[in-house]
Assembly symmetry: C2
């Protein structure tokens, strides 16, 4: 509690949004902060805090502040890594659900100032961002499992607590490009008074883009069944009459789902159309695991990261990749090495130059006529689900040997195929992390030309999380078939994408 106490009443801020007008509030077209967000595009998400030290993903806010104790903390290393890897901004978790604050907050003792390492991490990271030419954004959990006022009968005390903390974050650390709220599900949506928070944010930092996780109620999106998922319903048809839990906001969030190629970003809220881009959040690690654990974790395959980069950056949406520092307070070298390999793959230059969006065009396979050897259920698991432009719905076979086929334009050459396979999941001992297990172990890609089928790719290795097949010489096909020759269970494909050679 050594920081200068900033006492700015929320009430004073309420007129700010009107002052700044339509260019800041969400509307039917891109507003100023949405434009800046699109131009940034690619950010490093940093989860660091109490959960780095307790081995859990979501601790209960009962660990003593002293447990947080990085021994070699070097926030400059984090931001230098982000800069070298081509990221344009850093999104720092300033307070997770456990309530522990990475800055010296005037309104709580559950923060770094009372911990084993008193460095103000928010200051160190925001300073490093300025030094290395990156923008700085903050993640803040609405849900707070530590703060006593959160559990009080009168919730207004906690709302005041949030106002004070947000004012600290948005006043003491220079420009904040983005604020990312999480954990709203612990209370009724209206309890948070999102319109008030939106006004507060905009009054302090007019250009700060605001998003709230799980913005939309989507009953069919069941995380327990899907690693990948849609960022909204019916995106193929462009119908978006979805009820938003939180509004206003500048961008949609539904961690860790992936938007459809056809994401048009126009959502209807209470009769008005709003332009709402989507920020994708993925982990660098193969396990769905946000905080670093005691031992290093394996990273996703570079193939999968590369494909996700193209897919999530398409359509003027954005991507943040989570790279959590470890208990030393350093990013791990195996993760840094993977980021640099990804940088070279996607051909992204370090921050400074304009980011290339839309590197890969929409796959030519999306929406084409298709068929399969069998379908688990034609309505829900038909072959068309593998060519619907998204990784939410999927085709499923009835047999372990199976094929999936799509008609292509034989006049158009292609040179890249990506396949997102449905994976069985194994729960890790922590009861939270999940590991993916592939089913398809032997498969080929067959092309039909002039009445003859030819094998253009053949593998007896497991398909892997996201298989990408590049062709050094362009290929053509009237029909393209994935022939699954061996699988440990009936195979299922989220999406098979064929990209035109250009």
């Amino acid at each position: 509690m050594n920081a200068i106490r900033i006492l700015v009443s929320a009430a004073v801020m309420l007129s700010a949004i009107a002052m700044n007008g339509e260019s800041i509030a969400p509307s039917h077209k891109e507003n100023t902060c949405q434009k800046k967000m699109r131009e940034r595009g690619y950010g490093m998400f940093i989860h660091f805090g109490m959960n780095t030290f307790n081995g859990m993903e979501w601790s209960e806010g009962k660990d003593p502040a002293s447990l947080y104790n990085p021994t070699e903390l070097d926030c400059e290393q984090w931001v230098r890594t982000a800069r070298d890897a081509g990221f344009r901004y850093v999104l720092l978790v300033t307070k997770h659900h456990d309530g522990f604050c990475l800055w010296d907050s005037a309104v709580t003792d559950y923060d770094v100032a009372s911990s084993g390492n008193k460095t103000d991490v928010v200051k160190a990271v925001s300073d490093a961002c300025r030094k290395y030419g990156l923008e700085f954004g903050v993640y803040y959990s609405l849900w707070d499992r530590h703060e006593p006022s959160y559990k009080a009968d009168d919730f207004s005390g906690y709302r005041k607590y949030m106002d004070d903390q947000l004012t600290e974050l948005l006043t003491n650390y220079g420009d904040v490009c983005e604020i990312w709220f999480d954990g709203g599900w612990d209370r009724k949506p209206e309890d948070w008074d999102i319109p008030h928070i939106y006004e507060l944010v905009k009054s302090l930092q007019p250009d700060c883009a605001m998003g709230v996780n799980n913005s939309a109620y989507l009953a069919e999106d069941d995380l327990s069944k899907n690693i990948y998922g849609s960022a909204g319903p019916d995106e193929m048809t462009g119908k978006h009459n979805v009820k938003f839990a939180y509004f206003p906001m500048d961008f949609r969030l539904k961690d860790p789902f992936i938007a459809n190629w056809n994401d048009n970003k126009i959502y209807n809220v209470d009769g008005e159309d709003y332009y709402l881009p989507f920020e994708h959040t993925i982990c660098l690690s193969k396990k769905w695991n946000w905080f670093q654990k005691e031992k290093p974790m394996e990273t996703r395959d570079i193939d999968e990261l590369e494909e996700l980069f193209y897919r999530t950056m398409a359509n003027n949406n954005t991507l943040v990749i989570n790279v959590p520092p470890d208990q030393r307070g350093l990013m791990r070298r195996n993760e840094i090495n993977a980021l640099m390999e990804l940088r070279d793959r996607i051909g992204i230059s370090p921050a400074g130059k304009k980011l290339k969006h839309n590197t890969l065009k929409r796959p030519v396979s999306v929406g084409r006529a298709c068929r399969a050897s069998s379908e688990w259920d034609a309505a829900d698991y038909g072959a068309d689900k593998a060519f619907d432009g998204g990784v939410h719905h999927r085709w499923a076979s009835r047999d372990t040997t199976a094929w999936l086929e799509v008609d292509l334009d034989p006049a158009k050459e292609f040179n890249r195929i990506s396949i997102f396979e449905y994976m069985d999941e194994v729960m890790a001992p922590d009861g939270f992390s999940r590991k993916r297990a592939n089913r398809i172990t032997e498969y080929s890609i067959e092309a039909l030309n002039n009445g003859k089928w030819e094998t253009i790719y053949l593998s007896t290795d497991p398909m892997g999380d996201c298989k990408v097949i590049n062709f050094a010489t362009p290929q053509r096909a009237e029909k393209l078939r994935l022939d699954i020759r061996r699988a440990t269970a009936p195979p299922s494909i989220y999406e098979l994408s064929v990209y035109a050679a250009e």
Copy 2:
């Protein structure tokens, strides 16, 4: 037997070698044809013939000539593929152990002229090589399971048969850059009269480089135990007092073994030193399988092919990769696609420009101090075997969890590690082909710097046939350790190579 019968007596040729002098015969330094061979460097090996149609690797010469019947034979497609893939020469199997000849031989009816497709394949391929700017070489099996004179009490009849056939091959098809003899093991070495054959070859084509497979007796090279192997004994120490079964010759052959990085090519034969480069022969397919089968086969991983290219082309040795056409008489698209990907990886330009040898320098890990968590047997399976520069000897652990460590110069940066793992082998139903099965399923690379170990690479995927780890940013280490966290059996490593960043 429609071809013009060429009657050139072998006796006429015997003085040719003397005529042409030391620049053609093997000596202590590179002769003319060895120099040209080095400059060619990278060739496509083509196995095609009776075994393409009977599903066997080594048939007995009893299939009727009519069984050979390619329906869409296109030798230009083969050579065009070789040209596009960056190969400099084609090495065609003109007669395998079954005795069936791919040209219209005047001395037998067991040839294409009596088959279902009468195209003279030797002519078609050599013509295509001239058209596409590649050199042309021939493989010829000494062993002949069909020709009746082979089994006669008087072997001179078969020797005459060979002289006639070799004369046809080296007279009727233009320049032949190389001749590759095989199958000598079926009789005593002296039966073949290799000095006579060498003289015959040189008299007809002075610049034709000649090699005989399994030139050296090496009892410890047991193919049933090793996929990879040494091209000669004791190559670390440079001692080469090996008895050659066949001499003279211009290059060593020991299919499919891989030479050591330290291969110095000087061999002592009967008290004289000879410069003898090594021609490597590998299959494009993952299975050790020379003739195409009815169904397409998976190719080796591009990582492994790339590493083998660097390793086999080093030291001015040469490499041929076998790409067998199928029963149509066409190369398969999945194999062509793999070749083009390899071409792009190794950055080789199509034939015409000078080939780059020695793309990767000798690994900095070769011969360095090393140790392991355990050794199956320190003498034969010590840690040093994994750093001896070759993929013949190997380190083997006593436990399924294990580590292998090498000291490096911390002042020198490295950016590439390759690991050849010992693999269990599964025999295919044909009783000849073998498939590799890895043991290591989870592993990391650890680097020691300033007294601290850090994980620089971590994988929970099976290691694969040849794991290559590239680092986008150079690394340093005082010690480097392969930490094997999970394996299905005690792991064993042929070679772990660390390459300097240059």
